[in-house]
């Protein structure tokens, strides 16, 4: 019986089915763990710093919303998480995670906004794989390039100085600086587009 074609197909089929089932189960178990770790280890410390002393009435990590950004050119689903901080039932601060392709891969940036006066509260690099000593300086919070975003007014948009804007690049790391700024610009656009509708609920 073990040499019959149908038997081979059945055995292989059952093994593959059980394998798929097991993997779906493990995937379902590990996804929330990964998500929770990123929120606690990467996002929370930055948000605590950006929103320090604001006495927000809600826990903006608890109340996070997932924004569907459609699909990218390759058909991958794109999502981002929006964190809103409220006071008197009204959203006053927001933070958003965006990314852009840098020199060595994607640069992921968390940008925090103050909504009333349309100011950037701060930016933080969540992950990057840029050149050591040059582009990788975006990871350093004390870097003047990172510091310059703090308090920047975004009502008229954010742009590199070479494009007539207000952002100065890290010298020698133009590609990384442009990518970082592109991620911040993307965050600005998303906040402008999504926050009013989000604040309503």
């Amino acid at each position: 019986m073990r040499n019959k074609i149908w038997f081979m197909a059945v055995v292989l089929g059952i093994v593959a089915f059980l394998a798929g089932l097991a993997l779906a189960g493990v995937k379902g178990m590990t996804t929330p763990v990964i998500e929770k770790r990123i929120l606690e280890k990467k996002i929370k410390p930055s948000l605590d710093k950006f929103f320090d002393g604001l006495d927000l009435e809600n826990d903006c990590i608890e109340d996070r919303q997932v924004l569907d950004l459609g699909k990218d050119a390759r058909g991958r689903k794109q999502v981002t998480t929006l964190f809103l901080g409220k006071k008197g039932g009204k959203a006053v601060v927001a933070a958003l995670q965006t990314k852009a392709a840098g020199f060595g891969g994607d640069i992921e940036v968390l940008t925090a906004f103050s909504l009333d006066d349309k100011k950037i509260l701060g930016v933080k690099t969540l992950s990057q794989s840029e050149t050591m000593g040059l582009g990788a300086r975006v990871s350093n919070d004390a870097e003047p390039f990172i510091q310059q975003f703090q308090g920047m007014n975004y009502s008229d948009g954010v742009e590199m100085r070479s494009n007539g804007g207000q952002v100065d690049a890290i010298s020698g790391a133009t590609v990384s600086s442009v990518a970082f700024t592109a991620a911040v610009i993307r965050a600005t656009e998303l906040v402008e587009k999504n926050v009013d509708s989000a604040a309503a609920n």
């Binding site: 040499n3 055995v11 292989l12 093994v15 097991a22 493990v26 995937k27 590990t30």
Partner: protein, 213 residues
Amino acid sequence: MKTLTQEFTKGLWEQIPPFRLVLGLCPTLAVTKSLEGGWGMGLATTFVLVCSNLFISALRNVIPPKVRIATFIVIIATFVVITELVMKAYTPMLSETLGVFIPLIVVNCIILGRAEAFASKNGIGRSLLDGFGIGFGFTLALAVLGALRELLGTGKLTMFAQANLDLTIIPLGEGREFLFKFMVDPPGAFVCLGAMLLLMNLISERSARSKAA
């Protein structure tokens, strides 16, 4: 027929991979830049080896001989993906250090080799012991190689980066670079593995000679 103890201990010297069983060289060379990479890869491989040995041995009378390799690969790949997902969730830094070599455990010839040569012919108990023995031997070899390369190449030992368990064995002045960086570069991997194998050959040669005398 080996006793059960021998089934386990053969993996630790007599057939220790990658020295005696010259298999699984890619991970051996690639991830042993640090002690952590060595034991991490060793344990991940052990887990996959033990689980696949268990399942293949349990199913050995059901699996049709003609599609056995395909079935083995599905079983092994399943455990590799489980390892991949679990490591990403619980040991993210180690998972990043090992990178592409975690999915590549699936083509580690040690695992398919043990499935074909041992687990598909032996009972569950023996297959488990074989898996643990060979797995621990591999882990031991990788950890020693990793420790040696890291110590000579950087003067440090990374136990577990996620928990900040790093030891600086040979302290350096501020801003000074270690001179023997060769050891952590790709060429050092080949030479260091070659030197360890040479040492093992010399030891067995000597013990064989003293036995003969």
